[in-house]
Symmetry: C2
Subunit: 450 residues, 2 copies
């Protein structure tokens, strides 16, 4: 079955062929999304939930086609000499990842609805009753790279929250995104909602540039991906932006800590899924802990194949003695001197920058200088150090004695997530349902004038 | 006393002379603001409140100099042939307005603090304790026109919420803004906080352009003023923006309503302070109500000197009979046919567009097409019409039987306000303390890995 030429039914709006004039095609899509929006926003919660469940059924019954479409995307990527393992991993859908995607979708359908809920209600001395009520944002543009699961995660959260959405994925995932979006549209249509409320946007950079400048048609764009993508969107957009995803995350191992716990957290934060934004990129170690701790953690990291880019003082602790005895070859292959640029880099691979610091203050200053305000961790038994670190590190999520890998909508209990916000406006950290809403004030009077 | 050459004391950083290189001057100011920020953010609530009270004392004891500086600004404006009454009114500080400014400042100092408050706290099944805690935004740029009270209102809310701020007012209010900001700096210094946490930015459009592009130095910019200013900032900024202030507000008089109440609300919404953003700009009247209501309300509006720009069906009701009998000259002078452009215009003057509509639905559609998502009102006795209007009008504040003039931080009980947000992201409607904060997640574990 060729999914591209097999629309769910005739009422699915055709995806505009964007190659010739991407700006015009995207604007057409945005107009259709805005027209479709009120029906989605004004539908009752149950209708939107049923749409999500129907979408899940469609996607489950088309699993083979989805995996086949994804396999074609992966094959195309592999033919590109620039393809690396992290990139391929982000693009790949496996049966397990598809299952987890569908289970996320069902979870979203089951979450309590947020639209129409009263955030506050207060009466003023003049008798005016003011209610602050949660409403959808409107038309949301999601711009993402490689990971096709974002189509379903973000699309489902938008449907749940009454937002029409335009999903612009990376062109490397074109076939995967097309069929996944088709599943969401099938769900909408099954309950009589307009398919145009969720649309897959095709085309290259021209389409992105057009999308981020559709003031009046698009209420917010959410770039989700590399620092480069986010920077490009934030500097080009005239539509409000929520920046997400760039994660230059640190773990700081303090002077007084449980070294077993520290090794576990460091190895987990670096190696459990190095291609994602909440993976650790730099290890900071207190000078008092370094001589004993660095060789121990290095042995574990080297065994996991991690390349270490070490500051001069770390290098001094990475000698073939103690836990590193007999590892001359491994050390020679995997340990390199760090460059200044390593501190600012999101490797998204089995590479770790390592630096010795003289104090918790120095660790905080390093993180606030080089970090991306995403996820930062301290491992310590000292409550004062933990409190200072949590208060003064300027990041969305600040961990004490836990891995940075928990920064995730699912791990926070939000169901699926639409991204990790690294800005301070509107939403910060894992964004779930409420991050996709706004509010309005409804004011009831009896003729009050001012 | 020449306030400009009389700094509070030597430690006040000199205002950079921005004329030669505004971009460099603003970047220097932003760097100094960012350096000053942690001291302000980490100070205790009481210290920040005392700073505000000290600022109030300084400003009260310099009232004469402030009014004299403002009088010089007004005189300069009056010398400009382009000066109009609404513009002059916005610039003017009177002793009463200064009193109300100082009382707003005291109110802000007395408001409960919001920093450090726990928004949520939840424990995950794996034992992680997640706390969502309110924190400052960082360095906030406020860009505003003409009304110098914004310096104090916005500066005070920034100090209260631990945000450093760069205040860029209109050059027509240069002397007023300079001395008002000096008062806030005096308050900070009185409690040992760095004066650079609040700075007055000088220079013309070049300074604004530079300010809105200081990614990494400035966390958010808030333009407060005309639609033109907001559009310019939103399209040029690379820093996140909160759009505020453009108010093309409507009152819709439904078929079934109390006509006395409707007249009162319309006259109040148009005439009580026509130069501000929550003033009404277009009156919509249901066709059933128009023949009786329009002549009544027109008589009151014409007596207040309001020019009416009327659609053809309204014109038919505005004849010199009934309440308008004997008013031929007034009608000839003040009633004109509406142009298409009138529906989209924020007059900020004693001018009102008037249109007859056939239904509440038509009123809603008109408002959603031409409005600026600010403040909209329905006058009706029909609960179904009120509910539909409040649900479907896409605006920050939707009133039933009350004047649009209540959209104001003070009227909402927020103390002073930093603006009225007309966007949906982060904050909507009157912005008080919480709109100037973000949050972070603090996660405490016992070695959890994923």
């Amino acid at each position: 079955m060729n999914c591209v030429n097999d629309p769910v039914d005739d009422s699915v709006p055709p995806t505009p062929r964007a190659a010739e004039n991407p700006a015009e095609a995207v604007e057409q899509q945005a107009r259709r999304a805005r027209e479709a929006w009120p029906a989605l926003a004004e539908a009752c919660e149950e209708t939107r939930n049923t749409a999500l469940q129907e979408a899940g059924r469609w996607l489950a019954s088309h699993a083979e086609e989805i995996l086949a479409a994804n396999a074609r995307d992966v094959a195309r990527l592999e033919a590109d000499p620039a393809c690396d393992a992290a990139f391929r991993d982000r693009l790949l859908l496996t049966p397990e990842r598809l299952d987890s995607l569908l289970s996320g979708l069902r979870q979203v359908a089951e979450l309590p609805g947020v639209l129409g809920t009263e955030i506050r209600r207060f009466r003023r001395p003049n008798g005016l009753l003011i209610r602050q009520v949660r409403v959808p944002l409107g038309v949301v543009g999601i711009i993402f790279e490689s990971r096709p699961n974002v189509s379903v995660d973000a699309g489902a959260l938008c449907i749940k929250t009454g937002n029409a959405c335009l999903l612009k994925g990376g062109s490397e995932a074109a076939e995967s995104n097309r069929i996944l979006t088709r599943g969401l549209q099938a769900g909408l249509q099954a309950v009589g909602l307009p398919a145009a409320a969720v649309q897959n946007v095709e085309g290259g950079h021209g389409a992105v540039q057009a999308l981020v400048r559709l003031r009046g048609w698009v209420d917010v764009v959410i770039p989700r991906g590399s620092a480069r993508l986010i920077e490009a969107v934030a500097t080009q957009a005239t539509v409000p932006v929520i920046e997400t995803g760039a994660g230059n995350c640190h773990v700081y191992v303090d002077a007084h800590c449980d070294p077993d716990m520290a090794v576990n957290i460091v190895v987990n934060a670096k190696t459990s899924r190095p291609s994602v934004c909440n993976a650790m990129e730099t290890l900071l170690v207190h000078a008092q802990a370094a001589p004993a701790f660095l060789p121990r953690v290095a042995a574990a990291l080297l065994d996991a194949g991690v390349e270490l880019r070490a500051c001069p003082r770390s290098l001094a602790s990475l000698q073939p003695t103690g836990p590193l005895a007999g590892r001359e070859a491994q050390l020679a292959r995997l340990v390199k001197p760090a460059q200044e640029s390593d501190w600012a880099q999101e490797f998204l691979a089995l590479i770790l920058a390592v630096k010795v610091v003289d104090s918790c203050d120095e660790a905080i200053a390093h993180i606030n200088r080089y970090g991306t305000h995403h996820s930062e961790a301290i491992v310590t038994n000292d409550p004062a150090a933990a409190a200072a670190f949590q208060a003064r590190v300027d990041a969305a999520c600040v961990y004490h004695n836990a891995s940075t890998r928990f920064t995730d909508g699912g791990e926070f209990g939000f169901g699926a997530e639409v991204g990790i916000s690294t800005q301070k406006l509107h939403a910060r950290g894992p964004m779930g349902l409420e991050a996709l809403t706004s509010y309005k004030y409804l004011i009831d009077g009896s003729g009050q004038i001012r």
